[in-house]
């Protein structure tokens, strides 16, 4: 039994959660030992707050918000939007691990043989974010897609949020890998332009086709272009200044299509007859 007690105003502030960390720790230490102050606390807690407190505990224990989600909220994203981004399968460990594995493979290959390694890097680096975006939404990527479709949340918002998250993880990692290669600095980052262009093409095409179909088509075209320029000339032709102008044009066009198609975006609507053909009756 202690002889001093926490004064009522401090106790009140502690219950409200407005005491600083030091004072809080001190009050908590004291409460463990002092029955009289515990009783005083009981009188200060409003009973209607208890279910809310229980909800908070349940959410904290069972919600299992991942690291990515917490970081996003810290960065200022709305809690609800962070949940939507965090629910994307691409933001799981598997995606980061897959990305790291591909980048590691490219690094090893380019150390073994410079020209081939360069071609490999240029062929694969721009497709990393494209694959991530394609895997972030759509019937083939999201097992509970039909439920998301029946909900009022705008699907375009979901897709753009997830795509942004994919780009934010994939682009810096791939840029870092490129800088480790024996390339000049411009080439190591030039691939970002075709990458952004292809991502926008996949998103824009989302109004008409499944994102994976678009990503595979774009990816195959790009790999072929890199292979042809490596075989018959200079592989760096795909990131030559004239080509880069083309990518910028594609970015502008993709963004326009996306903006114009947004109000009637297919994924916000009902499944088109073509798409639902694959479905059971």
């Amino acid at each position: 039994m202690t002889t001093w007690h926490v004064d009522p105003s401090t106790l009140g502030a502690w219950v409200e959660g407005t005491t600083g960390p030091l004072a809080s720790a001190s009050v908590e230490q004291h409460l463990v030992k002092c029955e009289r102050c515990r009783a005083a606390v009981a009188g200060l807690v409003r009973i209607e707050d208890v279910p809310g407190a229980w909800d908070d505990v349940l959410a904290e224990v069972a919600g299992g918000a991942g690291l990515a989600e917490r970081v996003l909220v810290r960065l200022g994203l709305k809690a609800g939007d962070a949940v939507v981004v965090g629910a994307a399968p691409v933001l799981r460990i598997a995606w980061a691990a897959g990305l790291a594995a591909v980048l590691g493979f490219i690094l090893v290959a380019s150390i073994a043989g410079h020209d081939r390694g360069l071609a490999l890097f240029l062929a694969l680096a721009p497709l990393m974010p494209v694959a991530g975006v394609a895997a972030a939404y759509g019937p083939s990527a999201d097992p509970s897609y039909e439920l998301a479709l029946a909900a009022p949340y705008r699907m375009i918002r979901l897709v753009l949020l997830r795509s942004a998250a994919v780009l934010l993880t994939a682009v810096p990692l791939t840029v870092a890998a490129g800088l480790l290669l024996p390339l000049d600095g411009a080439t190591a980052v030039a691939w970002v332009l075709p990458s952004l262009a292809f991502t926008l093409v996949v998103l824009g095409a989302g109004s008409w086709v499944d994102p994976w179909a678009a990503a595979v088509t774009v990816g195959a075209g790009w790999v072929a272009a890199v292979a042809v320029s490596a075989r018959y000339g200079d592989v760096l032709a795909v990131v030559a200044p004239t080509a880069l102008v083309g990518y910028v044009a594609l970015i502008v066009a993709g963004a326009l299509v996306l903006a114009l198609a947004t109000p009637t975006w297919r994924l916000d609507g009902q499944w088109s007859p073509m798409q639902s053909e694959r479905e059971r009756t």
């Binding site: 279910p51 809310g52 229980w54 909800d55 908070d56 349940l58 959410a59 224990v61 069972a62 919600g63 299992g64 918000a65 709305k78 809690a79 609800g80 939007d81 949940v83 939507v84 629910a87 399968p89 799981r92 999201d142 097992p143 509970s144 039909e146 439920l147 998301a148 479709l149 029946a150 909900a151 009022p152 949340y153 979901l158 109000p263 009637t264 916000d268 609507g269 009902q270 499944w271 088109s272 007859p273 639902s276 053909e277 479905e279 059971r280 009756t281």
Partner: protein, 299 residues
């Protein structure tokens, strides 16, 4: 529940669902053909054999599938119009027939994610709502468990929990009782009966006993068309005088089967030395099915 209806603006006197001549084809096969349907608020059972078009109909009502022809109005709105479709989705709870969950999700996280998609943005309100629906389906003690580790019946209830989020004006449930044990089914009936007082609950099922226990109205779908709609009592009345208990299976009966007492339940014309008994909803449903089948044979 009544206050709930007022708050949500549910109109209990106008039809919740109105379909006129609705059709839907898949790869040339007709799933729905000229469906006429009017559903008033309350609990409505949707019966029909496999392949009758129940799931297609429910997906159209859940706004995830468009109709090829005819007019669809859900809660007084047109799902083909983008703005009205979103308004329907704000008032809709949907449980698909087959539901898969994102990998690695806990029960809580999945329902929380769905609450965000249903625009329950404010964190405290969302937490309270997620807890409420988990309590409704008796899963609160499984909140922190990975969905993967749950039993089939528990997983089905996770799906139900998300459908109940936001106390929707229209609940569209595709075989909600699949995988549930008898006690869980009774518990679910209690929750749905409560919802049915303030909203429209449409349940597709193979379980005639669920319909008999829960629904006032019933719709029977057969080969893509509505073969009956009305009260459960009216459907049962149609079987009045056509259900017989006899010592043998009657060859003229539309359906007959051996019951637990060793006697045969014969549906159709009176067999010799048979005892007339009160029909159940199952009898009535089987008789209706038999009638449409023989029509199909004749045609």
């Amino acid at each position: 529940m009544v206050t709930d209806a007022i708050r949500k603006g549910a109109n209990m006197t106008a039809p919740a669902i109105e379909l006129r001549g609705v059709s839907r084809r898949f790869r040339g096969a007709t799933a729905l053909d000229d469906v006429q349907l009017e559903v008033m608020p309350g609990i409505v059972g949707l019966l029909g054999p496999n392949g009758a078009g129940k799931t297609t109909l429910l997906r159209i009502l859940a706004t995830v599938l468009g109709a090829d022809g005819g007019s669809v109005r859900i809660l007084g709105r047109d799902p083909a119009d983008a703005v009205e479709r979103t308004e329907i989705r704000r008032r809709l709870g949907y449980l698909p027939q087959e539901l898969q969950y994102p990998r690695g999700f806990t029960t809580y996280r999945f329902v929380d994610y769905m609450a965000v998609l249903k625009e329950i943005e404010e964190p405290a309100a969302r937490r309270a709502e997620v807890r409420r629906v988990l309590e409704d389906v008796d899963l609160r003690d499984r909140a922190a468990k990975s969905i993967r580790t749950l039993s089939g019946g528990q997983r089905r209830r996770v799906g139900l929990a998300q459908a109940l989020l936001g106390s929707p004006e229209l609940l569209v449930l595709d075989e909600p009782t699949t995988g549930l044990d008898p006690e869980q089914r009774v518990a679910l009936r209690t929750v749905l009966a409560e919802r049915g007082r303030a909203s429209t609950v449409l349940i597709a099922t193979h379980q005639t006993e669920d319909v008999a226990a829960l629904c006032e109205h019933v719709v029977v779908l057969d080969r893509g068309s509505v073969s009956f709609q009305g009260t459960v009592a009216a459907l049962v009345r149609e079987a009045q005088g056509r259900v017989w208990l006899a010592d043998t299976a009657d060859p003229r009966a539309q359906v007959s089967w051996r019951t637990a007492t060793g006697r045969y339940r014969n549906l159709g014309e009176a067999p010799a030395e048979a005892e007339l008994v009160e029909p159940t909803l199952e009898d009535a449903y089987l008789l209706l099915r038999g009638a449409t089948e023989s029509e199909a044979v004749a045609a």
